[in-house]
Symmetry: C2
Subunit: 289 residues, 2 copies
């Protein structure tokens, strides 16, 4: 079977895409570029896909992420939760017959959706990085809190923390104050503690500006305090019920912030590399074709 021999795995998001050539379970070659779904016109996808094959070879291709959304190439309807690798693999959409498949996202109730993170989360279980019953936190533009049960996604909940921070940084009255790199420091932890209290974040946000204007807060602390505040509010509203380890998965520069915030909240956290989890997940799906 051609797929076991080799295939191209693609994580095609809104603003970026990343592709890996995998052969006999080993990673051979990869690349990343800025050709996200939003920069590719509906009719330009076949050419954009051909370009991947020019770079990584003429192999079958399995794609995850926003490429399967209504803004992507071919829409792959959401698979309702609970769902595991079997349900996801059974609902693949073939964009090019026997050559190119798109992995569907997941939906759940109360209404929520994800696309792409499910490959990482289920892949982490498959690879033994996360137990089959666990709470996973997957920070990004849209942070996903995923409840795993028996190795399948039972339900999840999206918190727009990353997008909110980006909106504040790019377009708000606070934007001048939010230009620094984010770090885990005292200001971050202060913000987390304030966010965990569960008051309206929109009230506390203005105090960042007022505090600097009145000389009560250092300008250079504003970025860390604000990111701590938003992450603290996110964590506080998401771990209210339950205890035990939280598995924080994704890009290391984000997982370390959430792991630190969970620590301030008194919860144990374990960071999981999102790339390793994605590759485990997409190979497990390819193995079911």
């Amino acid at each position: 079977m051609r797929w076991a021999e080799g295939f191209i795995a693609v994580d095609w998001g809104t603003t970026n895409r990343r592709a890996w050539r995998i052969a006999n379970g080993r990673l051979i070659e990869e690349f990343e570029d800025a050709k996200g779904v939003l920069s590719v016109g509906k009719s330009e996808f076949p050419a954009a896909v051909a370009e991947i094959r020019e770079r990584l070879g003429d192999w079958p291709m399995l794609m995850a992420g926003m490429v399967g959304s209504n803004r992507g190439w071919v829409e792959a309807p959401y698979v309702p939760c609970p769902a595991g690798l079997d349900e996801v693999a059974a609902a693949l959409i073939w964009a090019e017959e026997e050559r190119t498949a798109i992995i569907p996202g997941l939906s759940c109730e109360p209404p929520d959706v994800m696309r792409g993170e499910e490959v990482q989360v289920l892949g982490a279980v498959e690879a033994g990085l996360v137990p089959g019953d666990a709470l996973v936190c997957h920070p990004g533009t849209h942070n996903k809190w995923v409840t795993l049960k028996g190795g399948r996604v039972e339900r999840f909940r999206t918190v727009m923390t990353g997008e909110m921070f980006n909106l504040l940084r790019s377009h708000s009255i606070l934007s001048d104050l939010l230009k620094d790199e984010m770090a885990v420091d005292d200001a971050f932890c202060d913000g987390v503690r304030r966010g965990l209290e569960g008051d309206a974040v929109t009230a506390e946000l203005f105090s960042v500006r007022a505090g600097v204007l009145l000389g009560r807060r250092r300008k250079e602390d504003a970025t860390d305090y604000t990111s701590g505040l938003l992450i603290g509010a996110d964590v506080g509203s998401s771990i209210r019920h339950g205890d035990g380890m939280v598995y924080v998965m994704g890009r290391p520069e984000l997982t370390r912030l959430y792991a630190a915030a969970l620590g301030v909240a008194g919860r144990e956290a374990k960071e999981i590399d999102g790339e390793a989890a994605f590759l485990a997940g997409i190979q497990a799906i390819a193995g079911r074709i």
Copy 2:
């Protein structure tokens, strides 16, 4: 004394300015334009002020709002709370000697600042529209919750609800869904109830998009639900302690939304016209010159 005979009152905000000629306590003439503080360069203020006199006559001028901020013409340092009309009038900054004065804003602890709203709030007390001991809600880009005691501003708290809604409407993944006019309807009240529960608003916001994608929510309800959600969270975090009437002051299209939300929360609300309150306040300050 020239001021009692006649003067020009200006409310000069970030994006708009409004000017009124007042003589012997009566409103003679007025205009509004889009020449907000951010569109006027530091050196262009004398010309922008002269232009007001060209339109309304060569009278003394009293100005409130962001024109006195560090982005405005001449900075008028904040007066610390508690503060009433006497303290504000005693701290006027003269931009042009005996001709043009700028009203300072207020500051309080925990760190917060306002510029412009203090004239309305104190003016409403002066005009008998609001009692000297009261809770005032002043919605706008930055909603202000003002506690009055003995006719003075005891303290206040800013919630960035209006700015947050504008950010979501203009730049977020929800922007396509937030294009309608805002109205008080069932979707708005549903949003208010959800917001009052005090969960992280950033979590509930994504459900607006997911609900529409999954056919669980009508697209035409999204604007009202979202504005209700943000206003409900604002109200919920601000009226947790206390009871009695809340005086909602400002532009009628905003005060009616907050009055409705307060009603859903079980609190009595009375709407106060912000313009009448501003004119009462600025005349009371002019009378102290």
